[in-house]
Amino acid sequence: MEELIEKLKKEVIEQLNLEDINPDDINPDSPLFGEGLGLDSIDALELIVLLEKNYGIKIEDPKDGKKIFHSIRTMAEYITEHKK
């Protein structure tokens, strides 16, 4: 799980162009939206694409997004459970 978390941090930084942020700056349990990284709605869509492109996971119900993308750790847990 920790390995996946570190990988995800790098992928999120690259996918969302978070240039001034290093993987070590991201607390895996901190909220991704609102506070923390301060992501917006377009970033949320990018994260959905990231899951599908890099892990083959398609989110069928958009309502699940809030829970899945709460933090890097919740993303990692979801990927572990659903990776094909």
């Binding site: 969302l16 162009n17 978070l18 240039e19 001034d20 301060g38 377009i42 970033d43 869509l45 990018e46 694409v49 599908e52 492109k53």
Partner: protein
């Protein structure tokens, strides 16, 4: 009432000129994106969304930052400041990037953050959000810089009292080729402050062309 250019910025060929002063030049940079990043860092601008913008938006955003750093928009109601920009390749640079994400049907992953920039006037939106501008705005397309067209449009806005100030210029980026000029045009009011060492220019076609070709 006459209008004057109270501040301007010119970005091209690895150099940035603001109000006749060369503020940035690096001979060895070969990538346009690196030029923008270097200027952003040199000027100590803090606006994380900058990194998420497409090339045209970064270029227009940076030029505007430098223009307004020298001559702030003070005393204007948001609805009285306009933005009139132009270029030749519209949003083609980003359209190509978007196409790259969708051209292979077996790897079809359109990027939302790329797609939202597939219109040239998004750069105006970025500038307006940053500086709380809510006045008239338009993005014009022409084959080459057209000082006459730009002047005519902005002049009309002032004549009809639709604006009291207007940012106008040219923001072109395609591949590694880029060229930008943004000027702040204001009514010529007595006692108006201007950037130190810069003599305001009368707003006319000749001076727009002069700024565009200035080295």
């Amino acid at each position: 009432m006459d209008q004057i250019i109270t501040s301007y910025c010119r970005i091209r060929d690895n150099e940035v000129i603001v109000n006749d002063r060369l503020i940035f030049y690096q001979e060895n940079i070969v990538k346009f994106a690196e030029v923008l990043k270097s200027v952003y860092k040199q000027e100590q601008i803090i606006y994380p969304k900058f990194y998420k913008m497409d090339a045209i938006s970064k270029l227009g955003f940076l030029a505007t930052e430098l223009v307004l750093k020298e001559k702030a928009l003070e005393g204007y109601r948001p609805g009285t400041v306009g933005v009139v920009l132009s270029n030749s390749s519209s949003s083609l640079d980003t359209d190509i990037a978007h196409n790259e994400t969708i051209k292979d049907r077996s790897s079809y992953f359109p990027s939302p953050s790329v797609f939202v920039y597939t219109l040239p006037n998004i750069v105006i939106g970025e500038i307006c959000i940053r500086h709380k501008i809510k006045g008239e705005n338009v993005f014009l397309i022409s084959e080459a810089f057209n000082g006459k067209m730009l002047f005519s449009y902005v002049d009309e806005l002032f004549t009809n009292e639709r604006v009291d100030a207007c940012l106008c210029g040219w923001v072109e980026a395609l591949g590694n080729k880029y060229n930008a000029m943004i000027a702040l045009v204001e009514n010529n009011r007595p006692m108006q402050g201007t950037p130190a060492g810069f003599k305001p220019l009368l707003f006319n076609i000749e001076n727009l062309n002069l700024i565009m070709t200035r080295n």
